[in-house]
């Protein structure tokens, strides 16, 4: 070991650290779940019994079908909203398109369960929008159920499709479209035959992201699903009912979830690799100024999409300032809800800050070193590690939470209920963001710069600190902001791992909503939104603004 390190130096040590992190925080939990899933829920026998039960019992099997329906529905919705918005804002002059883009990004960074919660406030049984319509004699359906989940997913995840597609559309060389026109293609045919195929990889990447997030989303179906159960909520329900025994069914459902996610990634990669275009962008696309009705329609559609997705945030903030009496809103505005949150559950706020910031320090430090090693030293060991470290992308939070408990709630760890397990969960779930950010900024930094440093006599570590690191800072900040925002908003893993003393803001909000205490819930959510907004501001000022955050 010592000899190995001496031979491979500091960067060899970083690779080794990457493997250790993977082994303990990803492999071990997943391995534990896989093992548990083979112990029959009733008899305790080792075998495929649980899987047979899952696929032969409608009660379980239906959740797979339900998950597929809402995830695909949400993905299709996201494409329907995201692609036109991307096309309008990149190809036509839309007033305030920078604001639209910022609002869409903000929508993307807010946790989906906040959106779900805001929709209850609007379209729940006593939702104010529903009440308004009831007063004029129209009974709107409630937001509860599969359609509601699809609506929330659509509005939550369309920004991924929008941002990626817009990025793709901006890099289609104008000459290609001009060539199509020159060869006699009408505008619609030009779009379908030239533009569309060229941005299709961007669209499918965005759609895949939306699908993965929808599939693994726990908060939304938990809050507005009603009796409609999907894989993550079923895994959670099974876990809580199996507390006294081995988490056999919860583990089985977890493995099925990971399998579906892996299949989705595989399909998208396969499709994307078949059509891959490298573009030498010589002529930027033109931005047209539309006239008359077309102009109004383009503006109206763009504003409407962004407004719909911003609405939940507005609702949450407004309701945070409304006066309440117990669970009921009463007329008038004030800071009462904030007072109750800050005085009543200060622990949730401090915990959230402490956990997310501690995790952030670890994520940035480890992620930057790993990103450097993975992008600059393309050894076999590092290529494999690169793929392994991306696995948190396909492991739903619920699954990781169950894995963490199964693994770390026993010797030699005994971490259940500690702050450490929360921080480790944040760390491993968000580490890929930081690693990816570091890798992507390094792709813009000529390796010759570090070589120049080395040839001028700087040892590799000094060349990294003096040359590469200062140039990486914008990328590191981008990754850090993303990691932090998603960590502080984390719900699906922490809901499984928390005990009374380690409660966080998202958990507190979730519990308030489940109890019907909308006032304090809104106030807490507003604090969370403010933190997210602040982070986004930091990103815009200091971050690598040329790069898309997705």
């Amino acid at each position: 070991m010592i000899n190995w390190l001496r031979r491979n130096g500091f960067w060899g040590g970083v690779t080794l650290m990457g493997y250790v992190i993977f082994a303990i925080l990803i492999f071990l939990p997943i391995y534990s779940i896989i093992r548990e899933s083979f112990f029959d829920a009733r008899s305790g026998d080792f075998g495929l019994g649980n899987y047979v039960t899952f696929f032969t019992t409608p009660y379980y099997f239906r959740t797979l079908f339900n998950s597929a329906v809402v995830s695909l529905g949400g993905t299709i919705g996201a494409v329907i909203l995201g692609v036109p918005l991307a096309f309008f804002t990149t190809r036509y002059r839309i007033r305030g398109s920078a604001v639209l883009s910022t609002l869409a990004t903000l929508a993307l960074l807010t946790p989906p369960f906040l959106g779900a919660y805001a929709w209850i406030v609007m379209l729940g049984r006593n939702g104010f929008v529903r009440q308004m319509f009831l007063n004029i004699g129209i009974e709107l359906p409630t937001i509860f159920g599969p359609l509601g989940i699809i609506i929330v997913f659509t509005l939550q995840f369309y920004p991924f499709v929008y941002l990626l597609t817009a990025g793709g559309l901006k890099t289609v060389d104008r000459s290609l479209e001009e060539a199509a026109e020159n060869l006699g293609a009408r505008p619609f045919r030009k779009f379908m035959k030239v533009t569309m195929p060229l941005v299709l990889p961007s669209i499918t990447s965005g759609a895949l992201l939306a699908f993965m997030l929808a599939l693994s989303n726990f908060g939304t179906p938990m809050i507005i699903g009603g009796g409609f159960r999907v894989l993550p909520t079923m895994a959670y329900a099974m876990y809580t009912s199996e507390v006294a025994t081995r988490p056999a069914m919860a583990s089985t459902i977890s493995i099925i979830m990971v399998f579906v996610a892996a299949m989705a990634i595989f399909l998208q990669r396969y499709a994307a690799n078949r059509r891959k275009y490298t573009s030498m962008l010589l002529n930027r696309p033109v931005v047209l100024r539309l006239k008359g009705v077309k102009n109004y329609v383009a503006h109206l559609v763009s504003y409407l999409i962004v407004a719909l997705s911003t609405l939940p945030m507005v609702v949450v903030v407004v309701f945070a300032f409304r006066n309440t009496s117990g669970p009921v809103f009463i007329p008038g505005f004030g800071l009462d809800s904030f007072r109750r949150v800050i005085l009543g559950v200060p622990q949730a706020i401090t915990n959230s800050l402490v956990y997310s910031l501690t995790a952030l320090v670890l994520i940035v430090g480890v992620g930057t070193l790993l990103g450097f090693v993975l992008s600059r030293r393309r050894t076999k060991a590092n290529l494999v590690l690169d793929a392994l470290l991306m696995s948190p992308y396909i492991i739903p939070g619920t699954v990781l939470g169950i894995g963490f408990i199964v693994t770390f709630n026993r010797a030699p760890f005994f971490l259940y209920g500690t702050a450490a397990i929360m921080i480790l969960a944040y760390f491993i779930r968000r580490l890929p963001y930081s690693v990816r950010s570091a890798i992507s900024i390094l792709q813009q930094i000529d390796p010759a710069l570090e070589e120049a440093g080395i040839s001028l006599g700087a040892p590799p570590a000094r060349a990294f600190v003096k040359v590469a690191l200062p140039l990486m800072i914008p990328g590191i900040i981008s990754g850090a902001v993303l990691s932090w925002v998603t960590a502080i908003n984390e719900l699906s893993t922490s809901i499984l791992l928390y005990v009374g003393g380690t409660i966080t803001m998202p958990i507190r909000i979730f519990l308030s909503v489940m109890d019907g205490h909308f006032g304090p819930g809104s106030a807490m959510a507003t604090i969370l939104l403010a933190a997210t907004g602040l982070a986004l501001l930091i990103l815009n000022v200091f971050g690598d603004s040329k790069r898309n955050i997705v």
């Binding site: 010759a448 070589e451 120049a452 080395i454 040839s455 001028l456 200062p470």
Partner: protein, 363 residues
């Protein structure tokens, strides 16, 4: 201190490719030595192996009396100038140049004057506090040069340093680089795929192809006395004709037959000459008796200003090019006229068709 470099049987393979195939080169003290070849020939691999960015699979690299195979790149004390300049964008010009001195723990009092002197050498005095994004490509490359030589390395490596500059600047910079190298007396190894650049700048050139050394020699030897067809055609322009076709159809004069190398069947021989070594006469005009002539027809007359290029097709379907200096309009040969290309016998080269090796002319 300038040092002699000895590259002794260096071999380097990448998965599926032999990038360097037992390369032996000796670069003399203070010499300007160029590695020339098409992309993928191994020249950059060799340079990066000398710099220590690649480790060779076999063979040794000597600098002076020392073998540096095991010395890590940052301790090799070899200056390098990069194709994309690799000027640190987050440092000023002065900070860039001082970087290597600081790594060497040169006292601060000494750094200032040495940076100033280096910048003066590359004519960038007054640019100390600028950041690289305010500099043109040529200026950035001067910073790269100043930064590499300020550390007074044993050896200076230049990896296609001019290929990203525009044509005019390239011509000026290559002379500047040569002047600076002469002034410092430093040993330099230069990589380029531009054969004209190599001829202009080098004391000696090593031509490489597919990881193998083809020929080492002075620019004159490389151009005038190539050892094989690859070197002959890669450096400068060269007409290459199949000997058999030439006799069958191309209207070659009998003089050519007397020159044909002995011991190799005619169909295994190619005949070559440089376009500027030939000149054109119209059919019916007298031809010198000791020269080889190829009869045909002028397809195109291309006026380049300083010279005229004639594209001819000989009888059969063989084409050839002649490049002539023409200062009188009356001497321009019109297109579509029957003409003869005249090549002095000592300017004809012969190569083996299969392996491309040079064959000795008879007579």
């Amino acid at each position: 201190m300038a040092k002699r470099i000895l590259i002794d049987g260096v071999r380097k393979t990448f998965p599926g490719v032999v990038a360097l195939d037992n390369v032996d080169i000796e670069v003399k003290e203070g010499e300007f030595f160029t590695l020339l070849g098409p992309s993928g020939c191994g020249k950059t691999t060799l340079l990066r192996t000398i710099a220590g960015f690649y480790q060779q699979d076999a063979g040794h690299i000597h600098v002076g009396d020392a073998i540096i195979d095991k010395v890590p790149a940052h301790q090799r004390d070899i200056g390098m100038v990069f194709q994309n300049y690799a000027v640190f964008p987050h440092m000023t010009v002065a900070e860039n140049v001082a970087f290597g001195l600081k790594n060497r723990k040169v006292p601060n009092a000494e750094i200032g004057p040495r940076v100033a002197k280096a910048l003066a050498t590359v004519q960038l005095t007054g640019y100390e506090e600028r950041t690289p994004d305010k500099l043109s490509g040529g200026q950035q490359q001067r910073v790269g040069l100043a930064r590499a030589m300020v550390i007074e390395p044993r050896l200076l490596l230049l990896d296609e340093p001019l290929s990203n500059l525009d044509a005019k600047l390239r011509i000026q910079m290559r002379e500047d680089i040569l002047d600076i190298q002469r002034q410092l007396g430093i040993t330099a190894v230069y990589v380029t795929h531009d054969q004209e650049e190599a001829l202009v700048i080098s004391d000696r050139i090593a031509v490489m192809n597919f990881g193998k050394l083809q020929q080492i020699g002075t620019p004159w030897e490389i151009y005038r006395d190539p050892v094989n067809q690859f070197v002959a055609t890669f450096v400068g322009n060269m007409n290459v004709l199949s000997a058999a076709e030439t006799f069958a159809a191309a209207g070659a004069s009998e003089e050519l037959r007397r020159l044909m190398p002995a011991g190799v069947p005619e169909e295994q021989i190619t005949v070559a000459y440089r376009p500027e070594d030939a000149h054109i006469v119209l059919s019916g005009e007298t031809t010198p008796r000791d020269a080889v002539s190829f009869a045909g027809r002028i397809d195109k007359t291309l006026f380049l200003g300083s010279s005229v290029v004639y594209r001819m097709h000989l009888r059969g379907d063989v084409s050839t090019t002649v490049n002539e200096y023409v200062s009188e309009k009356a001497h321009l040969r019109p297109e579509q006229s029957d003409a003869v290309a005249i090549v002095p016998r000592d300017k004809l080269l012969f190569f083996h068709k299969e392996d491309g090796r040079r064959l000795k002319a008879e007579g």
